[in-house]
């Protein structure tokens, strides 16, 4: 189940936002079995994500862009533990990066499936993960924050071609 928090955020959701939220929720809920809540930009996000892990995935076609996911490193460790079945060993940094990359890969497929015509093929690149600064420009078409058990995940979509989907929904909303 998805809960939306943050004033009138539901009224501001574009087609991109709703597809992103749906993809994140389905992917995370199937992996963590926990409720996903959409939140407005939480205060102090830069502090929350000071010690973070990120993954970025190129979208090659039909629209060129990038999709990324950032989350606190400690939550990455918890996720890795849950996905890998709770072994007693502390997950390595590489394992955490790999899990975040795989979550993003699955989420991106669901997002594009929902956003585009279901008959339309799309092509994704290979995910890249890291700990330092996210190699994605600040001019994102959409930024979505979700909260799972008190942990915030930030997802960004970059790519000028995607703005057409924001405009379409704005038009629908004004009718």
């Amino acid at each position: 189940m998805v809960k939306i928090h943050g004033g009138n955020m539901s009224a501001q959701l574009t087609k991109i936002d709703s597809s992103l939220v749906s993809a994140i929720s389905k992917t995370m809920e199937s992996m963590t079995f926990e409720e996903v809540q959409v939140v407005s930009t939480p205060p102090g996000m830069d502090t929350v994500l000071k010690n973070k892990v990120w993954a970025v995935l190129p979208i090659i076609s039909p629209i060129e862009g990038k999709i990324s996911m950032e989350l606190p490193f400690d939550y990455g460790r918890i996720l890795t533990d849950e996905v890998c079945g709770g072994t007693e060993e502390e997950p390595s940094e590489d394992a955490i990066k790999d899990v975040v990359g795989e979550i993003l890969n699955t989420m991106a497929g669901r997002f594009l499936d929902d956003l585009l015509d279901s008959e339309k093929s799309f092509e994704l690149g290979l995910p890249e993960s890291g700990r330092a600064d996210l190699p994605v420009s600040d001019d994102a078409v959409a930024v979505v924050h979700v909260e799972i058990s008190g942990h915030v995940i930030r997802t960004k979509l970059v790519g000028e071609g995607f703005t057409v989907f924001s405009k379409e929904l704005e038009k629908e909303l004004t009718i």
């Binding site: 199937s30 992996m31 990359g101 890969n105 594009l112 093929s121 092509e123 290979l126 995910p127």
Partner: protein, 129 residues
């Protein structure tokens, strides 16, 4: 019975999830062989008697499409059923891959339910009862 199952995916996490799903779907006693890209998968396929190959599409060096073409073009490997797993799967791509010889195409995230019918079919059982 499915004895030797090769899983090709560049993500160790994805390989582990796929393996677990196959185990839950009835392949508890199978021997799993893992490859991190298509090149490695092709080499391992030549060295092992595989009963099934499971491959991701997006991989470095040799992707799943090229791997599938190589397997189906090889007289020695062509009989190996290939299940393609991808986050970019949709009706158009699925049809294209099946035409190229894929046994089935499964969308990520993989679950035991999404593959159990194929496992039963490959094990010679009727998945529909």
């Amino acid at each position: 019975m499915l004895e030797n199952i090769l899983i090709a995916d560049d993500s160790a996490t994805a390989r582990m999830i796929i393996r677990r799903c196959f185990e839950i779907a009835g392949c508890v006693q199978a021997n799993f062989i893992e490859a991190k890209d298509g090149e490695e998968a092709l080499e391992l396929a030549k060295k092992n008697e595989l009963s099934l190959m499971v491959t991701d599409i997006n991989m470095p060096n040799m992707d799943g499409r090229v791997l599938l073409k190589n397997v189906k073009a090889s007289p020695k490997l062509t009989e190996i059923p290939v299940i393609v797993i991808s986050s970019a799967s949709n009706d158009t791509l699925d049809k294209e891959l099946v035409q190229q010889g894929a046994f089935a195409v499964v969308k990520k995230p993989v679950s035991p339910a999404s593959i159990s019918g194929f496992v039963q079919e490959l094990n010679g059982q009727n998945p529909w009862g």
